[in-house]
Symmetry: C2
Subunit: 217 residues, 2 copies
DNA sequence: TTTTATGTTAACCTTGTGGTTAAACCAAGC
DNA sequence: GCTTGGTTTAACCACAAGGTTAACATAAAA
């Protein structure tokens, strides 16, 4: 009785593309249907309304984006290892879904409530544990003092900002796509070093960066 | 003959608010008219179309946002002073127009061309000069080596990211508005120190930060 | 006072859009 | 063969949204 030709998934995949490109308000149900090669009514058959379809897309995006990152930050790794792992997780995630950062930021601005709800459900970030790691480092004289909140914001800013502001950066620096990818690669290997330098002179001594090109684990 | 009751400016001001809240696609000409207390046709009388009105808003926003920042970076100040001035300029600009960062990012994503055009017109950022300052510092052994592009991206990321991602940060950290403002204040005074630490052990020795609270010039 | 150019409005037009409906399609079970 | 139930479509609907028009208001110029 059930044909299950994967239409539902097909719609979701195409909806993701359209919603990314145009945002919720700019997206058209017709375009999603066209791109999926089906009738518009069929989209409504599976996802009752535009809002529900968007929710499905948004939740799917967040579920792909957040758990790996939160997982790393909540893990038992040493702080230096954590930074490495976080950067690696972020860049690899974004390289397969380059639209995600901009999309999430954009739509979160349009509808903060949805995000707040999701943030509550999916295991909250454990700032307490990170804080203990930072304080331990300070006690041992390895780190300068820095508030956990600022630490996390800085790490995230380093990773996410270039993707979010890509258009602006490219326009202003007159970077073509190839050059920008280069810059991103450079960041991927440089961020851990920058974070270490920010934390203090004792951090990550084996990875101290003094040259432009940078090593990678 | 000309009455000039300031209607044109009135429309622009209200359009800014609406476009910020809803983005281009989400904004309604009717809502802009309503908020301005005038007829919808009058909006079209002054600004022929939604697109033109939006352009006016966008250009006005960029003209308020960019010149002060580019001005600082292109100036003759010493690098440490430049960082201070940039942070100060950014935070003071944003504190009077908190919507701007998110708005610019969002709409630049929707229409990169407009931004590219504007970036070309309004005096481009002079990376060459900044680069010379960085290289001079390296030659004197005061700075570690860092690519200009990365330096600028990092500075901008430090300043802009919290405003752009505010909703996400607040949702995840469960920060209320008051706490978030606190965090922003803390950043405003901490960023120069972080940038200095990133640049190298010799930078900004008189401002090296070792405590959570930080001084302000 | 009449003219004239600018401001302003109510009413209207056209198109696009999210959403619905009723009918057709089609594979499996009887 | 015929029913059955999920799947798919063409046609349709209501209404919202951008934009236009023609008339009206008003203050300065003639």
């Amino acid at each position: 009785m059930q044909k299950d030709t994967g239409t539902e998934q097909l719609i979701l995949r195409n909806a993701e593309q359209i919603f990314y490109l145009r945002g919720f308000d700019g997206a058209r149900m017709q375009e999603i249907a066209d791109r999926s090669g089906i009738n518009k009514a069929l989209v409504h058959y599976y996802y009752r309304s535009k809002a529900r379809l968007f929710d499905a897309v948004f939740v799917a995006a967040l579920q792909r984006l957040l758990p790996p990152l939160v997982g790393v930050l909540n893990s038992e790794m040493a702080l230096e290892k954590k930074i490495d792992a976080f950067v690696e997780a972020y860049f690899s995630m974004v390289s397969s879904h380059p639209f995600m950062p901009g999309f999430v930021i954009q739509e979160m601005h349009r509808n903060p409530a949805v995000f707040r709800k999701f943030a509550g459900e999916s295991g909250l970030l454990d700032l307490g544990k990170l804080n203990r790691q930072l304080e331990a480092g300070v006690a041992e004289g390895r780190y300068r003092n820095i508030a956990v909140e600022q630490f996390v914001i800085n790490l995230l800013a380093f990773c996410a900002f270039p993707f979010i502001a890509r258009q602006a950066i490219q326009a202003f620096g007159a970077f073509d796509d190839k050059r920008f990818e280069q810059i991103l690669d450079e960041r991927r290997s440089s961020i851990p070093g920058w974070m270490a330098e920010m934390l203090g002179p004792g951090a990550l001594p084996e990875k101290r960066q003094t040259s432009r090109g940078a090593e990678q684990p």
